[in-house]
Structure formats: structure tokens, C-alpha cells
């Protein structure tokens, strides 16, 4: 353990912090519609989702072996760049959480790393063709596919059951939602917890504490799984409100259709090697389910703000990562300390701001929008 330097220890702590924000940012993906339709009570939903995330983290460590899927040149990456990239990802995740926007945690991590590597190792360290192939195209295609599938499924579900008893239909689909939401949570745990494991493992390899091509040690798997599960359990209620109530008024058949579509897209693309954003797939599914019942149900203003957040996530995290990396690269250890202190201060400021208009398990289903200012009239945007 004497290989572990101050910087590597800091990378591990920062990676776990990112994992935590990833968890509470993405609880909404699996559970927002189940909470909104009453299939699961809010506290039960986040507990189930957290537990499944932890289980998922232990199921597989295949993804963990490549930190970035070839988007940046792993051999040029130093611990300082990883640290700077993580700072960019965490700050962007917290910012979008404050605004209640479901943006992609994976894009935040990739963006932060791209920015940090660009500044730290030069432009050739970033493989831009891979960025287009592995991030941009799936980012455009996957929500559309999930949306179209959910739209067709919702339309057919309502067509088939429109003469059935309303209470039986609602109860039946609520039951189905529990299964489909659980699958989304499990898939999320296997994918996203592994990204953090990959980051920590790479940092340990770069300082010589682990051999090349080593598997993540058990304590790395355990801490990464616990961090994402804890984040999930604490629940990003602000984002759950946006996804469950903000986009469409959702009923249980729509929730079931949206979650089934998300699960199908996530599993089929993971099987064929596409890395995609769980957040974007699930948002696409919810929008499609809304359109399948009645077009007017969709609040396009919220959808538009979300789409905007998707567009800017990667570049914004990249800018923060790049600034942090330039301080770390040129400032040495004092630079690292400055960035760490700044990051904690900004994160603390965002948490304080969120307290002015808190969203929690008891009021998550009340409003449609999440606002930063207190006592704003209902329906006003943030």
C-alpha cells in the first residue's frame, strides 16, 4: 500500500464521490415512473433500486477494464488528469441536479476526461472519431428508438385494454412496473458502478500498486458498489420529480411501456457493444409513452430544456475538466489542493442552494417543476 500517493488517494476519493453523484442522479431513470404511478412508494423504490445497484456492481467487471472505451488514449492519462476530469463530471452532475435536469452521468464523465486529457496530453490524446461513433450517434439514436418503441407499445396497450376494468388494468400494470424498473436498476448497477471501478483501478495501476491488466480488487468493487447504492438510496428527488411528473402525466400502462422500452434498448445495445446513456434512453421512453396516449399530454417545454442539457453536458464538463487539468498540470501538488478545495466549496454551495427549495420523498409527486427559488408559483420554470 506504500505505493499509494496523496494524488492517487485523492483520485480514489473523488472517483467514489462521482459514483455517489452518479447514483442519485440516475435513480430517476429506473424509478421515476414507478414512483409517479404509485407502483412503489418513494422510499421503497429507492431502497430497491439501491440494493439492485449494489448487486449489479458485483455481477460483472468486464466494462471496468477499459476506463473510457477508447475515447481517450489510456496510455497518456495520468492520475492528475483523471482527478481533473472527475471534478468536471461531479460539478456538472451537481449543477444539473440543482436544476432538476436529467442529464447523462456518463457524458459528464466522458466530457470531463476529454477536457482534462486535451489540456494535459494534447489534442492527439483524444480520439474524436471514437467520440462521434461511441457517444454522439448512440446519444441521438437511442432515445429515439426507446421513444418510438414506447409510443407503439403504449398505443397498443391502451387499445387492447380500453374496455377492460380500469382498476384491474391499473393494478396489473403497476405490478409489471416493479419487474421492469428492477431490471433497469440492475443494468444500471452493472454499467455505471463499473465505470468508477475502472477509474480507480487505472489510478492504482498507474502508481504501481497493481500490475498491468489487473482486475479490480474486491475492496474497489465493494466501495464503488456501496457509493453508487448509497447515492441511489438517498435519491435525486429533484430529478425524479422532473422525469416522473414534469414530462407527462403518466399512468401505469405508460410507465410499464416506457420501462420495458428502456430495458430492451439498454440490454440489446450493451449486448452489441454500444455504450449509451441510461438517462437519455429512459427520458426517450417516457416521452414516447406520453405521446402514445395523447400527444397534448407531453410538456414540450420541459422536454426542450432537457434536450438542451444533453447537448451541453459533454462540452460543459469538458471545459471544467480542462480548467482543472491546466491548474493540476502546471500547479503540481498545490494546484491539486486548490482544485480539490474549490470543488468542495462549489459542491457545498450547490447543496446549500438546493436547501432553499428542497424536494424529498414526501413531496416528490406534488409539483411539476423543480425550481431553485423558494415559493415560486406552480408551473413556472426554473
Amino acid at each position: 500500500m506504500d505505493h499509494i500517493t496523496f494524488l492517487v488517494a485523492l483520485v480514489i476519493v473523488t472517483a467514489l464521490a462521482f459514483d455517489f453523484t452518479n447514483g442519485f442522479h440516475d435513480t430517476a431513470n429506473a424509478m421515476a415512473t414507478s414512483i409517479a404511478t404509485g407502483a412503489l412508494r418513494p422510499k421503497v423504490a429507492v431502497l430497491l433500486s439501491g440494493a439492485l445497484n449494489l448487486v449489479g456492481a458485483f455481477l460483472s467487471t468486464e466494462v471496468a477494464k477499459t476506463i473510457s472505451g477508447g475515447i481517450v488514449d489510456d496510455s497518456l492519462v495520468t492520475s492528475g488528469m483523471i482527478f481533473a476530469g472527475l471534478v468536471g463530471a461531479i460539478l456538472w452532475n451537481l449543477m444539473t441536479w440543482l436544476l432538476g435536469l436529467p442529464s447523462s452521468s456518463s457524458h459528464a464523465l466522458f466530457g470531463g476526461l476529454i477536457g482534462a486529457v486535451w489540456v494535459g496530453a494534447g489534442r492527439h490524446g483524444v480520439h474524436f472519431d471514437k467520440v462521434v461513433e461511441k457517444i454522439l450517434i448512440p446519444a441521438v439514436a437511442s432515445p429515439v428508438v426507446a421513444g418510438v418503441a414506447a409510443l407503439a407499445a403504449t398505443y397498443l396497450a391502451y387499445r387492447l385494454t380500453n374496455r377492460a376494468r380500469k382498476d384491474t388494468v391499473t393494478k396489473g400494470f403497476r405490478f409489471g412496473q416493479i419487474a421492469s424498473a428492477s431490471l433497469v436498476s440492475l443494468a444500471h448497477g452493472t454499467n455505471d458502478a463499473q465505470k468508477t471501478m475502472g477509474v480507480i483501478t487505472l489510478a492504482l495501476i498507474s502508481c504501481g500498486a497493481l500490475g498491468h491488466n489487473a482486475d479490480p480488487p474486491v475492496w474497489v468493487i465493494l466501495t464503488a458498489g456501496l457509493a453508487i447504492a448509497l447515492g441511489t438510496y438517498l435519491g435525486g428527488w429533484r430529478i425524479i420529480r422532473t422525469m416522473g411528473k414534469g414530462l407527462v402525466d403518466i399512468e401505469s400502462p405508460q410507465g410499464f411501456a416506457a420501462e420495458s422500452a428502456s430495458t430492451a434498448v439498454i440490454l440489446s445495445s450493451a449486448n452489441l457493444g454500444f455504450a449509451l446513456s441510461t438517462t437519455q434512453v429512459c427520458s426517450g421512453g417516457i416521452l414516447g409513452a406520453g405521446m402514445g396516449r395523447r400527444l397534448a399530454e407531453v410538456r414540450w417545454g420541459t422536454a426542450g430544456r432537457m434536450a438542451l442539457a444533453w447537448l451541453v453536458t459533454l462540452p460543459s464538463a469538458a471545459v471544467v475538466g480542462a480548467v482543472a487539468a491546466s491548474v493540476v498540470v502546471h500547479g503540481g501538488t498545490p494546484g491539486v489542493v486548490v482544485i480539490a478545495v474549490l470543488a468542495v466549496a462549489v459542491a457545498g454551495g450547490i447543496v446549500v442552494l438546493s436547501r432553499r427549495n428542497p424536494v424529498h420523498a414526501d413531496n416528490v409527486n406534488h409539483g411539476r417543476t423543480t425550481s431553485v427559488r423558494p415559493a415560486e408559483p406552480a408551473g413556472a420554470g426554473a
Partner: protein
């Protein structure tokens, strides 16, 4: 840069088919449950409807099990 459009198309087609398939079968199961309630209210047993619903839900459960199989690499 080589974008694998075939794989992309495959993901789209498989996702669409599986989603619509599972939701439609599940909806038929729910429909059968609802029919059972109606039959029972008019004095029947509704066993046939219950069996039909069970078959539909079993088919959906198989899809879930296959999903688990895909998630857990130890099974491959």
C-alpha cells in the same frame, strides 16, 4: 471512422420488437384478468380466463429471465 449501421439497425429492430411484444402480451394478460372478474361477478368460476392470464404473465416472466441472462455474464 466506421459506423456500424447494421448493428444500430439491429438494436433498433430488436428493441422495438421486444418492447411491443412484451407490452402487448402483458396487456392481453391484464385483459384476461379483467374478464375473469366480470365472469366471477356473474356467478362463473373464471378458471379459463385465469389460466390465460397466467400464460401471458409467464411469457413476460420468460422475457425478464432472458434479460437477467443478458445482464449476468457468468451465464454466458
Amino acid at each position: 471512422m466506421s459506423v456500424d449501421w447494421n448493428a444500430l439497425g439491429e438494436v433498433a429492430a430488436v428493441s422495438f420488437g421486444v418492447t411491443v411484444g412484451v407490452v402487448v402480451v402483458f396487456a392481453i394478460g391484464v385483459l384476461a384478468l379483467s374478464a375473469r372478474d366480470t365472469v366471477r361477478e356473474s356467478g362463473g368460476t373464471g378458471t379459463g380466463q385465469l389460466a390465460g392470464a397466467g400464460a401471458c404473465f409467464l411469457a413476460c416472466a420468460c422475457a425478464v429471465v432472458y434479460g437477467l441472462y443478458l445482464i449476468i455474464p457468468q451465464f454466458h
